[in-house]
Symmetry: C2
Subunit: 162 residues, 2 copies
DNA sequence: GTGTTCTTTTGAACCAGTCAAATCAAGGAC
DNA sequence: GTCCTTGATTTGACTGGTTCAAAAGAACAC
């Protein structure tokens, strides 16, 4: 298993080091971890690891195409290994939990902007905001989105819009 | 005109103050301004204005529903007065320019996640990444998305995906 | 006008992330 | 296997965007 990760690094033109293997292992175990969680997790495997090293490693992985960085508004950046497929994210307004979603329509027509204003678009990024199963129960079940929200984002009333 | 803005503030249950009117005026003149630009602009109208006051005002406006905060990955937050309609944003990877887009489809089916994983979704936020007209010319016209990019985001090769 | 309450000011602090120099290790050449 | 070059990590300081807290000030209901 570690051989696989080492091969991935090598294939991407990156040297195989213990810090990098540790970070990859943490990312495989918990997708959508933030830098801090990755530092903590990777230190279990390589105690001397500094947080700056993790930032460097994450940057190397992202620019090599081995990892993807997502930045939900109001939260620190998250990292995931699932890269190269067309998936988006569900984010819980209350606890920040993140789940992957595939878009229902492949190359969806609604994701070609109606008027691109001269822009050449190369990516459409979608974030679905809501409440995860757990927070629906914890907060009051109706109008739960009004509850104590850590992520500073104006909650649109009245259903999903596009 | 200022009467209108004052009325909007009052209607939202906020006191009418010169700092707030100044910030609203700046937001009306330049949509998608960041906090720093708003401070600079508002100081032209109210020189003693502190940046902390602007942060406070912006927060009040957003939570009152008079303004909307958007946070493109890797850039400071932007603010706009256009609220309550279903619009999204085009962001230039090179210069950070932002343009509004209405989605082609109203309550688009593709924006209902294929599998919501138990989440109750109340908003779908779409960001289209690309190059604005100006940066297409400045950078090399083909594969321009590979150019010196300030916003740390992995550029997906091969067209818009969903 | 007066007083209460909300705003702004002032000044400090916080956090995620970055930078730069020095040390260290991976892995190709021998 | 050892040496050397280049790239990776460590160490420590620092930045930019944003938030917090206490004190001073201004709106506006009465």
């Amino acid at each position: 298993m570690e051989t696989t990760r080492a091969a991935e690094l090598r294939a991407a033109g990156l040297r195989v080091t213990r810090p990098r293997l540790s970070v990859l292992k943490v990312l495989a175990e918990r997708p959508h971890a933030d830098a801090d969680a990755i530092v903590t997790g990777a230190r279990a495997l390589h105690p001397s690891l500094s947080s700056q090293a993790v930032y460097g490693i994450l940057r190397a992985l992202v620019s090599a195409g081995l990892a993807r960085r997502i930045e939900p508004a109001g939260a620190p950046a998250l990292f995931e290994l699932r890269v190269g497929d067309n998936h988006h994210h569900l984010v819980c307004r209350s606890c920040g939990a993140v789940a992957d979603v595939d878009c229902a329509v492949g190359a969806a027509p609604c994701l070609e902007p109606s008027d691109a204003a001269g822009f050449v678009v190369d990516e459409a990024e979608v974030v679905f905001w809501g409440l995860c199963l757990e927070c629906q129960g914890r907060d009051h079940p109706v109008a739960a989105a009004e509850e104590s929200v850590q992520i500073p984002q104006h909650a649109t009333r009245g259903g999903v819009h596009a």
